[in-house]
C-alpha cells in the first residue's frame, strides 16, 4: 500500500510530501515529550553505502520513512526502500532475504521464528525502537469521559474474557439522552497488522473480536472512519490522532490514565507496547555493517528525536544500551 522509495536525489520532495501528510494527520497529543538526556549521539562512520530494504509494519511506515530520510542525510550513498503493509509481511521478507529490516509492531510468533530458523539456523534479532500506545478513539462529540479495560473488552470482543456484560449501545456505558440507544459502531485494523494482534492480546485478553468490527486497511483509515461516524469507536496508534476524534483515558485496576509519555514509560497506560525492527544477525559473522549503522542511528538521540516528531514515544537510555548490546 505505502511503497515509498527514498532516493537521495528526491529526498527533499519526499520529505515535503511526508511532512505535509503528517501535518494533515494533525500532530500529536497535548503533552510535551522529552528525550532521555542519557541517549547517545550518533557517531557517523566512514565507508557506509549500499541499498537497504525494509518491509513490514504499517504503523511504523512513516517512522521508517523519517529514519531513512535522516540516515540518508548522513550517508548520501545509501538508498533505502520502505514498504509497509502490515507486521505479518516482515517475517517472510526477512526469510526470503528481500528485506534487511523487518519493522514489526508485535513480536514474531513461534511459527515465524521457526521458519526463519529453518532457513538460517539461528533466530532473528529483535530490536525495540520506539514506544507506542494504542488509543481508543471516539467521535469528538461523544460525551463519554473514560473507559475501563473491561468495558473495552465487552465492546469489541465476542468472548469477553475480562468478564463484562455485552456492550452494544452507548447507553450500556451510562450515556443518556440521544446517546442512550445509539448503537456502537466498531472500527479496527485488518488482521495482517500487529496492532490487531496487540489489541487482541492486551485489552481482549487473547479473546476474539466481534465479527462486526470493521477491519480497516490502515491506522489512519480507522480514525477517518470514526470521524465520519458519530457512534463510532476504534483503536489506533496515538500518532494518528486528529481533531475529529478524541482519545479516551483507560483505566485498569485504578484511575483512568490518558496515553502520555509518562504513562507509556511506566506502562501505567494499559495499552502500551514497544515497536520493533527485526534484523538478520548472523551469530558468527555479525550484523551487516549497513544494517548495524542504521539501527545505531535509530537508537541514537537523533533517531529518537525523529520518533517524537512522528508521534511516538522515545525509548529510554537503559533500553538503548540493552538494544546496543543485542546488536554487538
Amino acid at each position: 500500500m505505502n511503497r515509498t522509495t527514498i532516493l537521495t536525489q528526491s529526498r527533499r520532495a519526499a520529505l515535503a510530501l511526508a511532512g505535509s501528510l503528517f501535518l494533515a494527520a494533525g500532530g500529536r497529543a497535548e503533552d510535551t515529550i522529552t528525550l532521555d538526556p542519557d541517549l547517545k549521539d550518533y557517531q557517523p562512520v566512514s565507508g557506509v553505502s549500499g541499498n537497504l530494504t525494509s518491509i513490514g509494519s504499517d504503523t511504523l511506515n512513516n517512522l521508517m520513512t523519517y529514519w531513512a530520510e535522516g540516515f540518508a542525510k548522513i550517508y548520501p550513498n545509501v538508498k533505502i526502500q520502505i514498504e509497509g503493509k502490515g507486521s505479518s509481511t516482515a517475517p517472510p521478507a526477512l526469510i526470503a532475504g528481500t528485506a534487511q529490516l523487518g519493522p514489526m509492531s508485535r513480536r514474531m510468533k513461534a511459527e515465524e521464528v521457526d521458519a526463519f530458523e529453518q532457513k538460517y539456523g539461528y533466530k532473528p534479532k529483535l530490536i525495540a525502537v520506539a514506544l507506542d500506545t494504542l488509543a481508543v478513539y471516539v467521535h469528538k462529540d461523544n460525551p463519554i469521559q473514560s473507559l475501563t479495560l473491561q468495558q473495552v473488552d465487552a465492546m469489541f470482543s465476542s468472548t469477553k474474557r475480562r468478564g463484562g456484560k455485552d456492550i452494544s449501545k452507548w447507553g450500556d456505558l451510562g450515556l443518556t439522552g440521544e446517546w442512550k440507544n445509539k448503537p456502537i459502531s466498531l472500527y479496527g485494523r485488518n488482521s495482517a497488522s500487529g496492532t490487531y494482534g496487540f489489541f487482541k492480546e492486551g485489552p481482549l485478553d487473547k479473546g476474539d473480536f466481534k465479527s462486526s468490527v470493521k477491519e480497516q486497511p490502515g491506522s489512519a483509515s480507522v480514525v477517518q472512519g470514526i470521524e465520519k461516524d458519530l457512534g463510532g469507536v476504534g483503536y489506533s496508534g496515538i500518532g494518528y490522532k486528529t481533531s475529529g476524534v478524541k482519545a479516551l483515558p483507560i483505566s485498569f485496576r485504578g484511575r483512568p490514565v490518558m496515553p502520555s509519555q509518562k504513562s507509556a514509560n511506566d506502562f501505567s497506560y494499559p495499552i502500551t507496547r514497544y515497536l520493533y525492527i527485526y534484523i538478520n544477525k548472523d551469530p558468527v559473522k555479525g550484523t551487516d555493517p549497513l544494517v548495524k549503522e542504521f539501527i545505531k542511528f535509530v537508537l541514537s538521540k537523533q533517531g529518537q528525536e525523529i520518533t517524537i516528531k512522528d508521534g511516538y514515544y522515545p525509548i529510554s537510555a537503559k533500553k538503548e544500551a540493552e538494544m546496543m548490546a543485542e546488536l554487538e
Binding site: 513461534a110 459502531s185 485488518n190 488482521s191 495482517a192 487482541k200
Partner: protein, 758 residues
C-alpha cells in the same frame, strides 16, 4: 460464453462453401488448394487456441488444488528411536520428561532430585544435572509446563521450588551447540506445618510472572505467585472436597483453580473473586468414573480430562444464562476413547493439540478445535510420562518400565477438517457452536477459526444485492435501447455504457467507500424517495403525453421521446432530496439508523449492502446491458415485421415476441454478470468493512471470498494453514463461477432450442 458456442460454427462453413462453389467454376485448382490450406491452418489455430485455453484453465485448477490438498492429508508419524532410560524410576506425580526445542536433549526428573539427560542423536546419556535445592529438601511432586520447560517442584517438607531448564544455543563455524542448565528461580514455603506437597501445578506468563498451586498431605491448599525482582506471595485457598484429590491445575495469572478427586468431582475456584470456597463443583459422570489425567490446553481456558474408563473430554467455561458475567465449565467435546484408562496428558506448547497416554501403552494425539485424532501409536508398556516436543515435530513416551519410544510427527494442519471449514464449531470461550472466520491472533495460543460459511454467504450476498440493482436497469435499458430508441442516440448510448465497463473497479470501490457510503447514510430515505417518485412521475407524464394530439406528438421523431424524460429525472431527484428528511422525521423519529436498530436490533452500518448494491451494480450493468442488447437486436427482423403486420403494437411486440426470443441471451448476460459479481474483489474490499458476518440484512456489510483472499494473503506464511485455506477459498470461487456458468449455458441451450421452433 456466447463466443464459445459461436466460434467453431461460424467461420468454417461460409468459407468452405464459398471456396468450393467458386473453385470449380472460376478459381484455378492451385488457388483452391491454397484456400483449403489457409482454411485448415485457420481451423487448426482456432482449435489450438481453444484447447490451450482449456489446458491453461485446467492447469490453474490443478495448481490451486495442489496448494490446498495438503489440508486434508492425515498426520504422519513414524518410530525414530526405542531405548531404555538409564536408572528410570517412575513415580506418579513426580516423574516429568522434557525435550528442548532443537530436539538435541531429552531430560527426565529423577526422584533423587537430579535431571537425567540423554542426547537424542544416537541416544547418548549425558551427565546428570543436580538440583542444588533438592539436596536439602526431598522431592515429593513435580509438574513441568509445556512452554519453556518451567518446573514446579514440591518437597516433603512443604516447599515449592520454581526452576527452569534452559537450553542455550551458541553458534560457531561448525554449527549449533546446545547446552542445558538448570536455573533455580525461587524456593517458597507453602506449608507452615511442613507437610509434604503431594500435588503441584504452575504457569509462567509471557512476562515471566509465575503462578502456582500446591496441595499438601495435610489437606491444605495454597496458591502462590512470584515475579523476578518482585515479592513472592503464598495464600491459603479454602474449601472442602469429597474424596482424595488426584489432580490439580491453576491457570495463567492464577485466576482459576481446579481440583479433581477420586470421587468423580471437579472443584472450580475463581481465585480473584473468592478464595475461601469453590465457585462451582462439577460431577464428572456416574459412579466409578474418575479423572486419571488432567491439564489445560494451551491458553488455559479449556481443560482436558482423561478418565479411568479411557474417555477423553474437553471442558471449558460457557456463559451462564442466568448471570451474564459467570462462566460455568461444561463438557464440550468427547474425543475418541482410549482402550484403557488414561494415565497422563501433555498439551502442545504451540497449538490446541494434546497427547494422551494410556494404561495399555496407547499414545494418541488429539486436536481440540477439529476433534480429530491425529496420531495413534503404541508405547512399550503403560505410559508413565509423555512429551510433545516444542516444535511439534516429535513425540516421546516413557513407559513405567523405563522403556522409551520417540516418534517423529508431521502434522502441519491439525485444525482443518470438513467440519471446521463448513460446519458449526464450538470454539473456546464461545457460548455456542458458531460459524466464524477469524484466522489470526496475536499469540501462539490463539485458536484459529476457519469457517468458510460466512465468506460464502458474504459472496452470495454481495452478488445478490449487486444484481438486484443491476438486472432491472440493465435489461430494461437494453430493451428500450434496442427496440424504441432513436438509432442516432443508440449509436451514442451503447458505446457509452460499454465504457462504464472500462472504469477500474478500484475507482468504483474508492468512490463507493469514501463518497457514496457517507452520503447514502445521510440521505438514504431521499434515495428511496427518488426511486419511488421517478416511475410515478413518468407514468403521469406518459398519461399526459397521450392527451396531446397526435399532430403535436408527431413533431418529435420516434425514439427521441427520451429527451423529454431527462427533465423528469431531474425533477424526481430534486423532489426525492426534498422529501427524504421529511419522511425520516415523520416515520422514523428523525433518525433512521436509530429506528433500524430499535426495530430490528440491527446496526445500520455506514458501509452496508445497499452501497455494495449500487457499486457492484455499476460494475455489472455494462456486461448485462451489452449482452442483452445484442440478444435483443439479433431477434430476426421478420419476427418483428410479422408481429407488427398482424396488428400488434410495438409494446406487445417487444414483450411478447422479442423478449421471449431473446431470453436465452439475456439469461446468459445475467449469469455472466453474476459470475463477475461473485469474483469482484476491489469494490467489496474497499466499500465494505470486510466484516465476516453471517447475515443477509441490507443494513450491514459482508466479507466475500475474493476480498478475503486479498485481505489475508499478505499475512499468510507460505505453506501454512491459512495460506492453504485461502487457496481452498480460491477453488470454491472457481467452482462457484464454473457451476453458475455451466448451468447458465445448459439453460441457455434449452431455451434456444425451445424458441428455435417459433
Amino acid at each position: 460464453m456466447q463466443a464459445e458456442t459461436d466460434i467453431p460454427a461460424a467461420p468454417t462453413p461460409p468459407v468452405q462453401s464459398g471456396a468450393s462453389a467458386r473453385g470449380s467454376l472460376m478459381v484455378p485448382r492451385k488457388a483452391a488448394r491454397r484456400v483449403k490450406i489457409i482454411d485448415r491452418l485457420a481451423g487448426g489455430i482456432i482449435r489450438f487456441g481453444g484447447a490451450s485455453v482449456i489446458i491453461a484453465v485446467a492447469a490453474i485448477f490443478v495448481f490451486i488444488g495442489r496448494e490446498a490438498l495438503p489440508l486434508f492429508l492425515p498426520a504422519e508419524s513414524s518410530l525414530q528411536e526405542e531405548a531404555d532410560v538409564p536408572g528410570f524410576v517412575p513415580v506418579p506425580g513426580v516423574t516429568v520428561v522434557g525435550v528442548d526445542e532443537y530436539e538435541t536433549f531429552a531430560y527426565w526428573l529423577h526422584p533423587t532430585g537430579a535431571l537425567h539427560l540423554v542426547a537424542l542423536e544416537g541416544w547418548k546419556p549425558a551427565d546428570p544435572i543436580a538440583i542444588p535445592a533438592l539436596q536439602k529438601h526431598t522431592l515429593s511432586s513435580a509438574y513441568r509446563s509445556a512452554v519453556k520447560d518451567h518446573l514446579y517442584l514440591g518437597t516433603k517438607d512443604g516447599h515449592v521450588l520454581l526452576a527452569q531448564v534452559r537450553f542455550s544455543a551458541s553458534y560457531s563455524e561448525t554449527g549449533r551447540v546446545v547446552k542445558p542448565r538448570l536455573v533455580e528461580e525461587k524456593l517458597l514455603r507453602v506449608s507452615e506445618a511442613g507437610s509434604p506437597v503431594t500435588h503441584v501445578f504452575g504457569r509462567h506468563d509471557s512476562q515471566g510472572r509465575a503462578a502456582f498451586a500446591a496441595l499438601c498431605a495435610d489437606g491444605s491448599l495454597a496458591v502462590g505467585s512470584w515475579e523476578e525482582g518482585g515479592d513472592a506471595v503464598v495464600e491459603r485457598v479454602g474449601g472442602q472436597w469429597m474424596g482424595r484429590p488426584t489432580h490439580l491445575a491453576v491457570s495463567e495469572g492464577g485466576r482459576a483453580l481446579f481440583l479433581a478427586t477420586d470421587a468423580g468431582r471437579l472443584y472450580h475456584w475463581e481465585l480473584q473473586e473468592d478464595r475461601e470456597s469453590p465457585f462451582q463443583i462439577y460431577q464428572l459422570g456416574d459412579g466409578g468414573r474418575r479423572v486419571t489425567a488432567m491439564d489445560f490446553v494451551i491458553g488455559d481456558h479449556a481443560l482436558v480430562l482423561g478418565f479411568n474408563d479411557g474417555r477423553v473430554e474437553q471442558w471449558f467455561g460457557v456463559r451462564d444464562n442466568a448471570d451474564d458475567t459467570r462462566r460455568l465449565f461444561r463438557r464440550i467435546r468427547t474425543f475418541e476413547s482410549l482402550p484403557a484408562a488414561a494415565t497422563t496428558v501433555q498439551p502442545s506448547g504451540r497449538d490446541k493439540g494434546f497427547v494422551v497416554g494410556g494404561e495399555d501403552g496407547s499414545v494418541r494425539l488429539y486436536f481440540t478445535t477439529s476433534g480429530r485424532t491425529l496420531v495413534r501409536q503404541q508405547a512399550a508398556g503403560a505410559v508413565a510420562v509423555l512429551c510433545y516436543a516444542p516444535k511439534l515435530t516429535s513425540l516421546l513416551a516413557t513407559s513405567t518400565n523405563g522403556h522409551t519410544r520417540v516418534w517423529s510427527v508431521r502434522n502441519p494442519h491439525p485444525e482443518i477438517s470438513l467440519g471446521t471449514l463448513f460446519g458449526k464449531v464450538w470454539y473456546e470461550g464461545y457460548d455456542r457452536p458458531e460459524f466464524t472466520w477469524q484466522s489470526t491472533g496475536g499469540s501462539d495460543d490463539f485458536e484459529s477459526k476457519f469457517s468458510l460459511v460466512p465468506l460464502i454467504v458474504g459472496t452470495l450476498k454481495g452478488a445478490f444485492y449487486g444484481l438486484l440493482f443491476a438486472v432491472p436497469i440493465a435489461v430494461l435499458a437494453a430493451l428500450y435501447t434496442s427496440q424504441f430508441m432513436h438509432f442516432r442516440i443508440r449509436a451514442l448510448v451503447k458505446p457509452a455504457v460499454e465504457i462504464m465497463a472500462a472504469l477500474p473497479s478500484v475507482v468504483i470501490g474508492f468512490l463507493a467507500g469514501l463518497w457514496l457510503a457517507p452520503l447514502l447514510e445521510r440521505h438514504v430515505l431521499s434515495v428511496v424517495a427518488m426511486i419511488g417518485i421517478l416511475p410515478l412521475l413518468i407514468l403521469v407524464a406518459v398519461i399526459g403525453w397521450q392527451q396531446i394530439p397526435m399532430r403535436q406528438r408527431a413533431k418529435i421523431p420516434a425514439g427521441m421521446e427520451l429527451a423529454l424524460i431527462i427533465p423528469l429525472v431531474g425533477l424526481a431527484l430534486w423532489a426525492g432530496a426534498q422529501l427524504g428528511p421529511w419522511l425520516e422525521d415523520w416515520f422514523f423519529h428523525g433518525d433512521l439508523r436509530q429506528w433500524v436498530y430499535d426495530a430490528f436490533g440491527q446496526q445500520f452500518e455506514q458501509r452496508n449492502s445497499i452501497v455494495i448494491g449500487f457499486a457492484m451494480g455499476f460494475a455489472v450493468i455494462p456486461i448485462i446491458f451489452t449482452i442483452s442488447e445484442d440478444a435483443l437486436s439479433n431477434v430476426p427482423q421478420h419476427f418483428i415485421s410479422g408481429s407488427l403486420a398482424l396488428g400488434a403494437s410495438r409494446w406487445q411486440t417487444a414483450t411478447r415476441i422479442i423478449l421471449p426470443t431473446a431470453s436465452p441471451g439475456i439469461f446468459s448476460g445475467v449469469m455472466v454478470g453474476f459470475g463477475r459479481a461473485v469474483g469482484e474483489t476491489m469494490i467489496v474490499l474497499m466499500a465494505t468493512g470486510n466484516t465476516p458476518i453471517l447475515s443477509f440484512s441490507p443494513f450491514n456489510g459482508m466479507r466475500t471470498l475474493s476480498a478475503n483472499i486479498a485481505v489475508e494473503i499478505p499475512e499468510a506464511p507460505v505453506g501454512g494453514t491459512l495460506y492453504r485455506v485461502l487457496f481452498l477459498a480460491a477453488i470454491l470461487l472457481f467452482l462457484m463461477t464454473f457451476v453458475v456458468n455451466t448451468v447458465a449455458e445448459v439453460i441457455r441451450q434449452r431455451l434456444r432450442e425451445k424458441y428455435q421452433a417459433v
